[in-house]
Symmetry: C2
Subunit: 312 residues, 2 copies
Protein backbone atom coordinates (compact mmCIF):
# COMPACT_ATOMS: atom_id res chain seq x y z
CA UNK A 1 0.00 0.00 0.00
CA UNK A 2 1.58 3.27 -1.07
CA UNK A 3 1.92 6.27 1.27
CA UNK A 4 -0.42 8.19 -1.04
CA UNK A 5 -3.16 5.64 -0.55
CA UNK A 6 -2.57 5.64 3.20
CA UNK A 7 -2.90 9.40 3.32
CA UNK A 8 -6.00 9.18 1.26
CA UNK A 9 -7.57 6.68 3.66
CA UNK A 10 -6.53 8.83 6.59
CA UNK A 11 -8.15 11.87 5.00
CA UNK A 12 -11.42 10.09 4.37
CA UNK A 13 -11.49 8.76 7.91
CA UNK A 14 -10.85 12.27 9.23
CA UNK A 15 -13.61 13.79 7.09
CA UNK A 16 -16.00 11.14 8.38
CA UNK A 17 -15.16 11.92 11.98
CA UNK A 18 -15.41 15.66 11.37
CA UNK A 19 -18.88 15.21 10.04
CA UNK A 20 -19.76 13.20 13.10
CA UNK A 21 -18.59 15.57 15.84
CA UNK A 22 -17.60 19.13 14.94
CA UNK A 23 -19.96 21.41 13.05
CA UNK A 24 -17.67 24.15 11.87
CA UNK A 25 -16.43 24.58 8.28
CA UNK A 26 -13.79 27.12 9.39
CA UNK A 27 -11.73 24.50 11.25
CA UNK A 28 -10.44 23.04 7.98
CA UNK A 29 -8.55 26.22 7.11
CA UNK A 30 -6.73 26.50 10.44
CA UNK A 31 -3.05 25.55 10.42
CA UNK A 32 -3.00 25.09 14.17
CA UNK A 33 -5.78 24.69 16.71
CA UNK A 34 -4.85 25.89 20.19
CA UNK A 35 -7.20 24.39 22.80
CA UNK A 36 -6.39 27.32 25.07
CA UNK A 37 -8.21 26.26 28.26
CA UNK A 38 -6.67 22.77 28.10
CA UNK A 39 -3.17 24.07 27.30
CA UNK A 40 -3.02 21.65 24.35
CA UNK A 41 -2.53 22.30 20.65
CA UNK A 42 -2.54 20.34 17.41
CA UNK A 43 1.04 21.53 16.74
CA UNK A 44 2.58 20.77 20.10
CA UNK A 45 0.71 17.56 20.93
CA UNK A 46 0.04 14.37 18.97
CA UNK A 47 -3.65 14.21 19.79
CA UNK A 48 -4.45 11.00 17.81
CA UNK A 49 -1.67 9.20 19.68
CA UNK A 50 -2.68 10.63 23.05
CA UNK A 51 -6.44 10.17 22.75
CA UNK A 52 -7.27 8.09 19.65
CA UNK A 53 -8.40 5.04 21.66
CA UNK A 54 -10.83 6.92 23.92
CA UNK A 55 -14.34 5.37 24.01
CA UNK A 56 -15.81 6.86 27.21
CA UNK A 57 -15.60 10.45 28.41
CA UNK A 58 -16.72 11.34 31.93
CA UNK A 59 -17.07 14.95 33.01
CA UNK A 60 -17.89 16.48 36.38
CA UNK A 61 -17.60 19.81 38.19
CA UNK A 62 -14.85 19.26 40.74
CA UNK A 63 -11.19 18.67 39.75
CA UNK A 64 -10.54 16.53 42.85
CA UNK A 65 -13.59 14.37 42.17
CA UNK A 66 -12.54 13.79 38.55
CA UNK A 67 -9.06 12.80 39.72
CA UNK A 68 -10.58 10.31 42.16
CA UNK A 69 -12.77 8.97 39.37
CA UNK A 70 -9.75 8.42 37.11
CA UNK A 71 -8.02 6.51 39.90
CA UNK A 72 -11.19 4.51 40.58
CA UNK A 73 -11.53 3.56 36.89
CA UNK A 74 -7.85 2.60 36.76
CA UNK A 75 -8.48 0.19 39.61
CA UNK A 76 -11.85 -1.06 38.30
CA UNK A 77 -10.50 -1.83 34.81
CA UNK A 78 -7.41 -3.47 36.36
CA UNK A 79 -5.18 -1.40 34.10
CA UNK A 80 -1.41 -1.89 34.15
CA UNK A 81 0.82 0.71 35.83
CA UNK A 82 0.65 2.61 39.08
CA UNK A 83 -2.36 4.72 40.09
CA UNK A 84 0.07 7.35 41.34
CA UNK A 85 1.20 7.84 37.74
CA UNK A 86 -2.27 9.01 36.65
CA UNK A 87 -1.41 12.65 36.00
CA UNK A 88 -3.31 15.79 35.04
CA UNK A 89 -2.86 16.28 31.28
CA UNK A 90 -3.86 19.95 31.67
CA UNK A 91 -1.41 20.65 34.49
CA UNK A 92 -0.07 23.71 32.62
CA UNK A 93 -3.39 25.48 33.31
CA UNK A 94 -5.74 25.62 36.29
CA UNK A 95 -8.95 26.06 34.28
CA UNK A 96 -9.71 22.33 33.93
CA UNK A 97 -8.18 19.02 35.00
CA UNK A 98 -7.98 16.10 32.57
CA UNK A 99 -7.04 12.46 33.08
CA UNK A 100 -6.89 9.49 30.74
CA UNK A 101 -6.89 5.87 31.92
CA UNK A 102 -7.14 3.27 29.19
CA UNK A 103 -10.19 4.06 27.02
CA UNK A 104 -11.66 6.47 29.60
CA UNK A 105 -11.16 10.24 29.92
CA UNK A 106 -12.09 12.07 33.11
CA UNK A 107 -12.34 15.86 32.92
CA UNK A 108 -13.50 18.60 35.28
CA UNK A 109 -15.72 21.38 33.99
CA UNK A 110 -16.22 23.80 36.89
CA UNK A 111 -19.65 25.13 37.80
CA UNK A 112 -22.37 26.43 35.49
CA UNK A 113 -23.30 26.43 31.83
CA UNK A 114 -20.61 28.83 30.55
CA UNK A 115 -17.80 26.92 32.27
CA UNK A 116 -18.87 23.50 30.93
CA UNK A 117 -19.56 25.01 27.49
CA UNK A 118 -15.96 26.22 27.05
CA UNK A 119 -14.75 22.77 28.09
CA UNK A 120 -17.14 20.99 25.70
CA UNK A 121 -16.11 23.10 22.68
CA UNK A 122 -12.45 22.24 23.27
CA UNK A 123 -13.18 18.61 24.19
CA UNK A 124 -15.25 18.01 21.04
CA UNK A 125 -12.47 19.55 18.93
CA UNK A 126 -9.93 17.37 20.75
CA UNK A 127 -11.97 14.21 20.01
CA UNK A 128 -12.20 15.30 16.37
CA UNK A 129 -8.47 16.01 16.05
CA UNK A 130 -7.72 12.70 17.80
CA UNK A 131 -9.96 10.88 15.28
CA UNK A 132 -12.01 9.21 18.02
CA UNK A 133 -15.15 7.27 17.15
CA UNK A 134 -18.06 5.42 18.83
CA UNK A 135 -17.92 7.54 21.95
CA UNK A 136 -20.25 7.83 24.92
CA UNK A 137 -20.03 10.87 27.19
CA UNK A 138 -21.34 11.03 30.76
CA UNK A 139 -21.77 13.94 33.11
CA UNK A 140 -21.40 12.59 36.66
CA UNK A 141 -22.32 15.25 39.17
CA UNK A 142 -24.11 16.42 42.28
CA UNK A 143 -27.52 18.04 42.50
CA UNK A 144 -30.38 19.08 44.74
CA UNK A 145 -33.17 16.51 44.90
CA UNK A 146 -36.82 17.35 44.31
CA UNK A 147 -38.94 15.01 46.38
CA UNK A 148 -36.25 12.32 46.64
CA UNK A 149 -34.21 11.24 49.66
CA UNK A 150 -30.61 12.51 49.75
CA UNK A 151 -28.25 10.06 48.11
CA UNK A 152 -30.59 9.08 45.27
CA UNK A 153 -28.96 8.85 41.84
CA UNK A 154 -30.98 10.53 39.07
CA UNK A 155 -30.44 9.48 35.45
CA UNK A 156 -31.69 12.39 33.36
CA UNK A 157 -34.54 11.73 30.95
CA UNK A 158 -34.83 15.32 29.71
CA UNK A 159 -32.77 18.32 30.76
CA UNK A 160 -35.12 21.27 31.21
CA UNK A 161 -34.57 24.98 31.86
CA UNK A 162 -35.95 27.15 34.70
CA UNK A 163 -39.26 27.32 32.84
CA UNK A 164 -39.44 23.49 32.55
CA UNK A 165 -38.80 23.57 28.79
CA UNK A 166 -36.55 20.86 27.23
CA UNK A 167 -34.41 23.44 25.47
CA UNK A 168 -31.20 25.43 25.68
CA UNK A 169 -31.14 29.05 24.55
CA UNK A 170 -27.80 29.85 22.91
CA UNK A 171 -26.90 33.42 21.97
CA UNK A 172 -25.02 33.54 18.65
CA UNK A 173 -23.86 36.98 17.50
CA UNK A 174 -26.58 38.67 19.55
CA UNK A 175 -29.37 36.42 18.30
CA UNK A 176 -31.09 33.68 20.29
CA UNK A 177 -30.96 30.14 18.91
CA UNK A 178 -32.97 27.35 20.56
CA UNK A 179 -31.45 23.86 20.82
CA UNK A 180 -33.08 20.62 21.93
CA UNK A 181 -31.82 18.99 25.14
CA UNK A 182 -32.81 15.39 24.50
CA UNK A 183 -30.37 12.79 25.72
CA UNK A 184 -29.69 9.25 24.52
CA UNK A 185 -32.65 7.12 25.57
CA UNK A 186 -30.89 3.77 25.20
CA UNK A 187 -27.91 4.72 27.33
CA UNK A 188 -30.27 6.04 30.05
CA UNK A 189 -32.25 2.78 30.07
CA UNK A 190 -29.09 0.70 30.13
CA UNK A 191 -27.80 2.71 33.10
CA UNK A 192 -31.07 2.21 34.97
CA UNK A 193 -30.89 -1.53 34.32
CA UNK A 194 -27.33 -1.77 35.61
CA UNK A 195 -28.20 0.26 38.72
CA UNK A 196 -30.31 -2.67 39.95
CA UNK A 197 -27.19 -4.83 39.95
CA UNK A 198 -25.42 -2.55 42.42
CA UNK A 199 -26.01 -2.46 46.17
CA UNK A 200 -26.53 0.97 47.78
CA UNK A 201 -27.07 2.90 44.57
CA UNK A 202 -30.80 3.87 44.70
CA UNK A 203 -31.52 5.16 41.21
CA UNK A 204 -34.42 6.74 39.33
CA UNK A 205 -34.97 8.22 35.88
CA UNK A 206 -36.46 11.72 35.78
CA UNK A 207 -36.14 15.19 34.37
CA UNK A 208 -33.28 17.41 35.52
CA UNK A 209 -33.71 21.17 35.82
CA UNK A 210 -30.66 23.24 34.92
CA UNK A 211 -30.47 26.75 36.41
CA UNK A 212 -27.94 29.55 36.00
CA UNK A 213 -27.50 30.12 39.71
CA UNK A 214 -27.57 28.18 42.92
CA UNK A 215 -29.58 30.54 45.15
CA UNK A 216 -32.37 32.69 43.66
CA UNK A 217 -32.74 30.55 40.52
CA UNK A 218 -33.17 27.34 42.54
CA UNK A 219 -35.54 28.94 45.05
CA UNK A 220 -33.11 28.89 47.97
CA UNK A 221 -34.00 31.04 50.98
CA UNK A 222 -30.39 31.29 52.21
CA UNK A 223 -28.57 33.42 49.60
CA UNK A 224 -27.28 36.97 50.02
CA UNK A 225 -30.38 38.00 48.06
CA UNK A 226 -33.86 36.57 48.51
CA UNK A 227 -37.07 38.38 47.70
CA UNK A 228 -39.58 35.53 47.94
CA UNK A 229 -41.41 33.75 50.75
CA UNK A 230 -41.10 30.16 51.97
CA UNK A 231 -44.54 29.50 50.48
CA UNK A 232 -43.49 30.80 47.04
CA UNK A 233 -40.37 28.61 47.15
CA UNK A 234 -42.41 25.47 47.85
CA UNK A 235 -44.94 26.40 45.19
CA UNK A 236 -42.13 26.55 42.60
CA UNK A 237 -40.53 23.27 43.72
CA UNK A 238 -43.96 21.59 43.75
CA UNK A 239 -44.58 22.81 40.21
CA UNK A 240 -41.18 21.44 39.16
CA UNK A 241 -42.00 18.07 40.74
CA UNK A 242 -45.39 17.95 39.00
CA UNK A 243 -43.66 18.64 35.68
CA UNK A 244 -41.42 15.59 36.22
CA UNK A 245 -38.29 17.32 37.62
CA UNK A 246 -36.47 15.12 40.12
CA UNK A 247 -33.26 17.08 40.60
CA UNK A 248 -31.70 20.51 39.98
CA UNK A 249 -28.16 21.24 38.85
CA UNK A 250 -26.36 23.79 36.67
CA UNK A 251 -24.92 22.21 33.52
CA UNK A 252 -27.25 19.63 31.99
CA UNK A 253 -29.05 21.71 29.32
CA UNK A 254 -25.94 22.90 27.47
CA UNK A 255 -24.31 19.49 27.91
CA UNK A 256 -27.33 17.76 26.34
CA UNK A 257 -27.72 20.39 23.61
CA UNK A 258 -24.08 20.43 22.48
CA UNK A 259 -23.71 16.64 22.56
CA UNK A 260 -26.90 16.28 20.52
CA UNK A 261 -25.82 18.76 17.84
CA UNK A 262 -22.40 17.07 17.70
CA UNK A 263 -23.78 13.50 17.49
CA UNK A 264 -22.27 12.40 20.77
CA UNK A 265 -24.25 9.83 22.75
CA UNK A 266 -24.69 11.46 26.14
CA UNK A 267 -26.07 10.75 29.60
CA UNK A 268 -26.37 12.78 32.81
CA UNK A 269 -26.05 10.90 36.11
CA UNK A 270 -26.22 13.06 39.25
CA UNK A 271 -26.64 12.18 42.90
CA UNK A 272 -28.88 14.32 45.12
CA UNK A 273 -27.10 15.81 48.16
CA UNK A 274 -30.33 16.89 49.87
CA UNK A 275 -34.09 16.91 49.37
CA UNK A 276 -35.04 20.51 48.57
CA UNK A 277 -38.46 20.00 50.15
CA UNK A 278 -36.59 19.57 53.44
CA UNK A 279 -34.12 22.46 53.25
CA UNK A 280 -31.64 24.58 51.32
CA UNK A 281 -28.33 24.20 53.16
CA UNK A 282 -26.08 21.21 52.56
CA UNK A 283 -25.47 20.19 56.16
CA UNK A 284 -24.87 16.47 55.64
CA UNK A 285 -21.57 15.30 57.21
CA UNK A 286 -18.55 15.33 54.89
CA UNK A 287 -18.06 11.53 54.88
CA UNK A 288 -21.70 10.90 53.96
CA UNK A 289 -21.43 13.45 51.10
CA UNK A 290 -18.30 11.64 49.88
CA UNK A 291 -20.22 8.36 49.88
CA UNK A 292 -23.09 9.94 47.92
CA UNK A 293 -20.66 11.40 45.35
CA UNK A 294 -19.23 7.96 44.66
CA UNK A 295 -22.62 6.57 43.57
CA UNK A 296 -22.73 8.08 40.04
CA UNK A 297 -19.07 7.03 39.67
CA UNK A 298 -19.90 3.41 40.64
CA UNK A 299 -22.84 3.28 38.23
CA UNK A 300 -20.89 4.68 35.28
CA UNK A 301 -17.87 2.48 36.05
CA UNK A 302 -20.23 -0.53 36.06
CA UNK A 303 -21.65 0.55 32.68
CA UNK A 304 -18.15 0.91 31.21
CA UNK A 305 -17.09 -2.52 32.49
CA UNK A 306 -20.23 -4.08 30.98
CA UNK A 307 -19.60 -2.41 27.65
CA UNK A 308 -15.98 -3.51 27.64
CA UNK A 309 -17.08 -7.08 28.35
CA UNK A 310 -15.30 -7.15 31.69
CA UNK A 311 -18.44 -8.36 33.47
CA UNK A 312 -21.17 -10.74 32.53
CA UNK B 1 -20.20 49.97 80.10
CA UNK B 2 -22.39 46.99 80.93
CA UNK B 3 -22.39 43.78 78.86
CA UNK B 4 -26.01 44.46 77.99
CA UNK B 5 -25.15 47.80 76.46
CA UNK B 6 -22.22 46.23 74.59
CA UNK B 7 -24.51 43.58 73.15
CA UNK B 8 -26.98 46.21 72.21
CA UNK B 9 -24.32 48.20 70.35
CA UNK B 10 -23.14 45.03 68.65
CA UNK B 11 -26.65 44.21 67.55
CA UNK B 12 -27.22 47.67 66.12
CA UNK B 13 -23.92 47.55 64.27
CA UNK B 14 -24.83 44.17 62.82
CA UNK B 15 -28.27 45.36 61.74
CA UNK B 16 -26.65 48.33 60.03
CA UNK B 17 -24.25 46.12 58.12
CA UNK B 18 -26.98 43.68 57.22
CA UNK B 19 -28.96 46.49 55.72
CA UNK B 20 -25.88 47.54 53.79
CA UNK B 21 -24.92 44.22 52.19
CA UNK B 22 -27.33 41.29 52.35
CA UNK B 23 -30.92 41.61 51.15
CA UNK B 24 -32.56 38.57 52.67
CA UNK B 25 -34.93 38.65 55.65
CA UNK B 26 -34.68 34.84 56.04
CA UNK B 27 -31.03 34.94 57.16
CA UNK B 28 -32.01 36.26 60.60
CA UNK B 29 -33.85 33.08 61.51
CA UNK B 30 -30.96 30.73 60.62
CA UNK B 31 -29.08 29.22 63.52
CA UNK B 32 -26.11 28.37 61.37
CA UNK B 33 -25.08 29.55 57.91
CA UNK B 34 -22.98 27.02 55.99
CA UNK B 35 -21.08 28.72 53.17
CA UNK B 36 -20.93 25.38 51.39
CA UNK B 37 -18.70 26.24 48.42
CA UNK B 38 -16.16 27.96 50.71
CA UNK B 39 -16.22 25.12 53.27
CA UNK B 40 -16.80 27.75 56.00
CA UNK B 41 -19.66 28.13 58.48
CA UNK B 42 -20.78 30.58 61.14
CA UNK B 43 -20.67 27.78 63.73
CA UNK B 44 -17.24 26.36 62.94
CA UNK B 45 -15.41 29.60 62.10
CA UNK B 46 -15.15 32.96 63.85
CA UNK B 47 -15.82 35.03 60.76
CA UNK B 48 -15.62 38.49 62.43
CA UNK B 49 -12.19 37.59 63.80
CA UNK B 50 -11.00 36.08 60.50
CA UNK B 51 -12.33 38.77 58.15
CA UNK B 52 -13.58 41.77 60.20
CA UNK B 53 -10.73 44.06 59.08
CA UNK B 54 -11.15 43.43 55.32
CA UNK B 55 -11.45 46.63 53.26
CA UNK B 56 -10.61 45.43 49.75
CA UNK B 57 -11.82 42.28 48.02
CA UNK B 58 -10.25 41.21 44.72
CA UNK B 59 -11.78 38.41 42.67
CA UNK B 60 -10.60 36.74 39.47
CA UNK B 61 -11.20 33.55 37.49
CA UNK B 62 -8.05 31.51 38.01
CA UNK B 63 -7.05 30.05 41.42
CA UNK B 64 -3.34 30.28 40.60
CA UNK B 65 -3.63 33.90 39.54
CA UNK B 66 -5.48 34.84 42.74
CA UNK B 67 -2.79 33.11 44.79
CA UNK B 68 -0.11 35.10 42.96
CA UNK B 69 -2.10 38.27 43.57
CA UNK B 70 -2.28 37.56 47.33
CA UNK B 71 1.51 37.06 47.39
CA UNK B 72 2.01 40.23 45.34
CA UNK B 73 -0.18 42.28 47.72
CA UNK B 74 1.67 40.83 50.71
CA UNK B 75 4.90 42.11 49.22
CA UNK B 76 3.48 45.45 48.04
CA UNK B 77 1.95 46.29 51.43
CA UNK B 78 5.17 45.18 53.15
CA UNK B 79 3.16 43.01 55.53
CA UNK B 80 4.88 41.08 58.32
CA UNK B 81 5.34 37.31 58.01
CA UNK B 82 6.46 35.01 55.26
CA UNK B 83 4.80 34.95 51.82
CA UNK B 84 5.02 31.16 51.95
CA UNK B 85 2.57 31.23 54.87
CA UNK B 86 -0.20 32.79 52.73
CA UNK B 87 -2.52 29.80 52.61
CA UNK B 88 -5.78 28.91 50.90
CA UNK B 89 -8.59 29.45 53.44
CA UNK B 90 -10.87 27.22 51.34
CA UNK B 91 -8.39 24.37 51.06
CA UNK B 92 -11.04 21.88 52.23
CA UNK B 93 -12.84 22.36 48.88
CA UNK B 94 -11.68 22.76 45.30
CA UNK B 95 -14.57 24.97 44.17
CA UNK B 96 -12.85 28.27 45.00
CA UNK B 97 -9.54 29.47 46.45
CA UNK B 98 -9.44 32.24 49.05
CA UNK B 99 -6.55 34.20 50.53
CA UNK B 100 -6.39 37.05 53.04
CA UNK B 101 -3.39 39.32 53.41
CA UNK B 102 -3.86 42.27 55.78
CA UNK B 103 -7.01 44.17 54.73
CA UNK B 104 -7.13 42.48 51.31
CA UNK B 105 -8.99 39.31 50.28
CA UNK B 106 -8.14 37.53 47.04
CA UNK B 107 -10.67 34.93 45.80
CA UNK B 108 -11.04 32.87 42.63
CA UNK B 109 -14.45 32.57 40.99
CA UNK B 110 -14.02 30.19 38.03
CA UNK B 111 -15.44 30.99 34.60
CA UNK B 112 -18.85 32.37 33.73
CA UNK B 113 -21.80 34.07 35.38
CA UNK B 114 -23.17 31.07 37.35
CA UNK B 115 -19.76 30.27 38.84
CA UNK B 116 -19.05 33.85 40.02
CA UNK B 117 -22.66 34.23 41.21
CA UNK B 118 -22.38 31.32 43.68
CA UNK B 119 -19.12 32.79 44.97
CA UNK B 120 -20.64 36.29 45.33
CA UNK B 121 -23.67 35.05 47.30
CA UNK B 122 -21.39 33.31 49.79
CA UNK B 123 -18.83 36.14 49.85
CA UNK B 124 -21.47 38.79 50.55
CA UNK B 125 -22.89 36.67 53.36
CA UNK B 126 -19.35 36.16 54.70
CA UNK B 127 -18.72 39.94 54.71
CA UNK B 128 -22.05 40.41 56.49
CA UNK B 129 -21.36 37.76 59.12
CA UNK B 130 -17.85 39.20 59.58
CA UNK B 131 -19.36 42.66 60.14
CA UNK B 132 -17.17 44.27 57.50
CA UNK B 133 -17.78 47.86 56.40
CA UNK B 134 -16.55 50.44 53.86
CA UNK B 135 -15.52 47.83 51.33
CA UNK B 136 -14.45 48.10 47.72
CA UNK B 137 -14.56 45.01 45.50
CA UNK B 138 -12.60 44.57 42.27
CA UNK B 139 -12.84 41.95 39.56
CA UNK B 140 -9.37 41.61 38.01
CA UNK B 141 -9.51 39.43 34.94
CA UNK B 142 -8.65 38.68 31.34
CA UNK B 143 -10.73 39.46 28.26
CA UNK B 144 -10.80 39.72 24.51
CA UNK B 145 -10.16 43.24 23.23
CA UNK B 146 -12.44 44.97 20.73
CA UNK B 147 -10.33 47.35 18.65
CA UNK B 148 -7.57 47.61 21.25
CA UNK B 149 -4.01 46.25 21.12
CA UNK B 150 -3.40 43.13 23.23
CA UNK B 151 -2.21 44.04 26.71
CA UNK B 152 -4.51 47.04 27.15
CA UNK B 153 -6.22 47.30 30.54
CA UNK B 154 -9.94 48.14 30.33
CA UNK B 155 -11.70 49.71 33.32
CA UNK B 156 -15.38 48.96 32.84
CA UNK B 157 -17.73 51.92 32.56
CA UNK B 158 -20.87 49.84 32.00
CA UNK B 159 -21.19 46.05 31.85
CA UNK B 160 -23.49 45.15 28.97
CA UNK B 161 -25.05 41.89 27.79
CA UNK B 162 -24.82 40.23 24.33
CA UNK B 163 -27.46 42.67 23.10
CA UNK B 164 -25.43 45.70 24.35
CA UNK B 165 -27.92 46.42 27.15
CA UNK B 166 -26.59 47.55 30.58
CA UNK B 167 -28.60 44.92 32.41
CA UNK B 168 -28.47 41.48 33.94
CA UNK B 169 -31.41 39.10 33.56
CA UNK B 170 -31.84 37.02 36.71
CA UNK B 171 -34.33 34.16 36.84
CA UNK B 172 -36.06 33.96 40.24
CA UNK B 173 -38.52 31.09 40.70
CA UNK B 174 -39.05 30.83 36.95
CA UNK B 175 -39.64 34.56 36.46
CA UNK B 176 -37.21 37.00 34.83
CA UNK B 177 -36.03 39.96 36.90
CA UNK B 178 -33.91 42.69 35.31
CA UNK B 179 -31.07 44.28 37.31
CA UNK B 180 -28.94 47.30 36.47
CA UNK B 181 -25.23 46.74 35.86
CA UNK B 182 -23.88 50.19 36.66
CA UNK B 183 -20.55 50.25 38.46
CA UNK B 184 -19.04 52.84 40.82
CA UNK B 185 -18.11 55.84 38.71
CA UNK B 186 -15.72 57.39 41.24
CA UNK B 187 -13.68 54.22 41.72
CA UNK B 188 -13.39 53.82 37.93
CA UNK B 189 -12.16 57.41 37.51
CA UNK B 190 -9.70 57.03 40.39
CA UNK B 191 -8.33 53.84 38.81
CA UNK B 192 -7.89 55.61 35.46
CA UNK B 193 -6.04 58.46 37.15
CA UNK B 194 -3.67 56.09 38.96
CA UNK B 195 -3.00 54.15 35.74
CA UNK B 196 -1.15 57.19 34.39
CA UNK B 197 1.30 56.92 37.27
CA UNK B 198 2.34 53.39 36.26
CA UNK B 199 4.73 52.51 33.44
CA UNK B 200 3.64 49.81 30.97
CA UNK B 201 -0.02 49.70 32.02
CA UNK B 202 -1.86 51.20 29.00
CA UNK B 203 -5.39 51.76 30.27
CA UNK B 204 -8.75 52.93 28.89
CA UNK B 205 -12.30 53.23 30.23
CA UNK B 206 -15.00 51.58 28.11
CA UNK B 207 -17.96 49.25 28.15
CA UNK B 208 -17.42 45.55 28.77
CA UNK B 209 -19.63 42.95 27.10
CA UNK B 210 -20.39 39.86 29.18
CA UNK B 211 -21.37 36.69 27.30
CA UNK B 212 -22.40 33.24 28.48
CA UNK B 213 -19.95 31.39 26.27
CA UNK B 214 -16.52 31.87 24.79
CA UNK B 215 -17.11 30.64 21.23
CA UNK B 216 -20.47 31.19 19.50
CA UNK B 217 -21.56 33.97 21.88
CA UNK B 218 -18.36 35.96 21.32
CA UNK B 219 -18.39 35.43 17.55
CA UNK B 220 -15.40 33.10 17.45
CA UNK B 221 -14.87 31.10 14.25
CA UNK B 222 -12.83 28.37 15.99
CA UNK B 223 -15.29 26.53 18.25
CA UNK B 224 -16.65 23.01 17.81
CA UNK B 225 -19.80 24.72 16.51
CA UNK B 226 -19.89 27.72 14.18
CA UNK B 227 -22.75 28.55 11.85
CA UNK B 228 -21.77 32.11 10.80
CA UNK B 229 -19.37 33.64 8.29
CA UNK B 230 -16.23 35.71 8.86
CA UNK B 231 -18.16 38.74 7.57
CA UNK B 232 -21.00 38.22 10.06
CA UNK B 233 -18.46 37.92 12.87
CA UNK B 234 -16.82 41.24 11.99
CA UNK B 235 -20.20 42.91 11.57
CA UNK B 236 -21.12 41.93 15.15
CA UNK B 237 -17.76 43.03 16.61
CA UNK B 238 -17.98 46.33 14.67
CA UNK B 239 -21.47 46.91 16.08
CA UNK B 240 -20.16 46.18 19.58
CA UNK B 241 -17.31 48.67 19.07
CA UNK B 242 -19.71 51.33 17.80
CA UNK B 243 -21.86 50.83 20.91
CA UNK B 244 -18.83 51.55 23.10
CA UNK B 245 -17.73 47.98 23.90
CA UNK B 246 -13.95 47.71 24.30
CA UNK B 247 -13.62 44.21 25.69
CA UNK B 248 -15.53 40.93 26.13
CA UNK B 249 -15.50 38.63 29.13
CA UNK B 250 -17.91 36.33 30.96
CA UNK B 251 -18.66 37.61 34.48
CA UNK B 252 -19.06 41.40 34.59
CA UNK B 253 -22.87 41.78 34.35
CA UNK B 254 -23.77 39.61 37.35
CA UNK B 255 -20.80 41.01 39.30
CA UNK B 256 -21.98 44.58 38.68
CA UNK B 257 -25.65 43.73 39.30
CA UNK B 258 -25.15 41.86 42.58
CA UNK B 259 -22.67 44.41 43.98
CA UNK B 260 -25.07 47.22 43.10
CA UNK B 261 -28.09 45.59 44.79
CA UNK B 262 -25.90 44.81 47.85
CA UNK B 263 -24.42 48.35 48.11
CA UNK B 264 -20.87 47.23 47.46
CA UNK B 265 -18.63 49.70 45.61
CA UNK B 266 -17.38 47.70 42.66
CA UNK B 267 -15.00 47.98 39.72
CA UNK B 268 -14.04 45.65 36.85
CA UNK B 269 -10.45 45.82 35.59
CA UNK B 270 -9.56 43.36 32.82
CA UNK B 271 -6.60 43.13 30.48
CA UNK B 272 -7.12 42.21 26.84
CA UNK B 273 -5.20 39.08 25.70
CA UNK B 274 -5.81 39.70 21.98
CA UNK B 275 -7.56 42.10 19.61
CA UNK B 276 -10.63 40.26 18.33
CA UNK B 277 -10.46 42.20 15.04
CA UNK B 278 -7.17 40.36 14.42
CA UNK B 279 -8.14 36.81 15.42
CA UNK B 280 -9.87 34.36 17.75
CA UNK B 281 -7.14 32.09 19.05
CA UNK B 282 -4.94 33.12 21.96
CA UNK B 283 -1.54 32.40 20.45
CA UNK B 284 0.55 34.95 22.36
CA UNK B 285 3.57 33.34 24.09
CA UNK B 286 3.03 32.24 27.70
CA UNK B 287 5.49 34.75 29.22
CA UNK B 288 3.86 37.68 27.41
CA UNK B 289 0.41 36.53 28.62
CA UNK B 290 1.77 36.38 32.18
CA UNK B 291 3.03 39.95 31.82
CA UNK B 292 -0.38 41.09 30.55
CA UNK B 293 -2.19 39.36 33.41
CA UNK B 294 -0.10 41.24 35.97
CA UNK B 295 -1.29 44.64 34.68
CA UNK B 296 -4.74 44.68 36.36
CA UNK B 297 -3.04 43.39 39.52
CA UNK B 298 -0.50 46.24 39.44
CA UNK B 299 -3.21 48.86 38.92
CA UNK B 300 -5.43 47.56 41.72
CA UNK B 301 -2.45 47.15 44.08
CA UNK B 302 -1.49 50.77 43.32
CA UNK B 303 -5.09 51.87 44.11
CA UNK B 304 -5.05 49.97 47.42
CA UNK B 305 -1.70 51.47 48.43
CA UNK B 306 -3.00 54.97 47.62
CA UNK B 307 -6.16 54.40 49.65
CA UNK B 308 -4.13 53.06 52.59
CA UNK B 309 -1.91 56.14 52.46
CA UNK B 310 1.16 54.04 51.65
CA UNK B 311 2.01 56.26 48.64
CA UNK B 312 1.77 60.00 48.11
Amino acid sequence: MSPILLNSIGKEHHDYIKQEYVKNPHLDSMEEDILYHFNLSTKTHNLPQMFGDVKFVCVGGSPNRMKSFAEFIHEQLKLPGNIADVRDICEGTDRYSMYKVGPVMSISHGMGVPSISIMLHELIKLLYHAQCSDLIIFRIGTSGGVGLPAGTVVITEKAVDSFFRPQFDQVVLGKMIVRSTELDEDVAKELLKYSTELPDVPTVIGDTMCTHDFYEGQGRLDGALCSFSTEEKFEYLKKAYDKGVRNIEMESTVFAAMCRVCNLKAAVVCVTLLNRFEGDQISTPHDVLLDYQQRPQCLVAHFIKKRLGLML
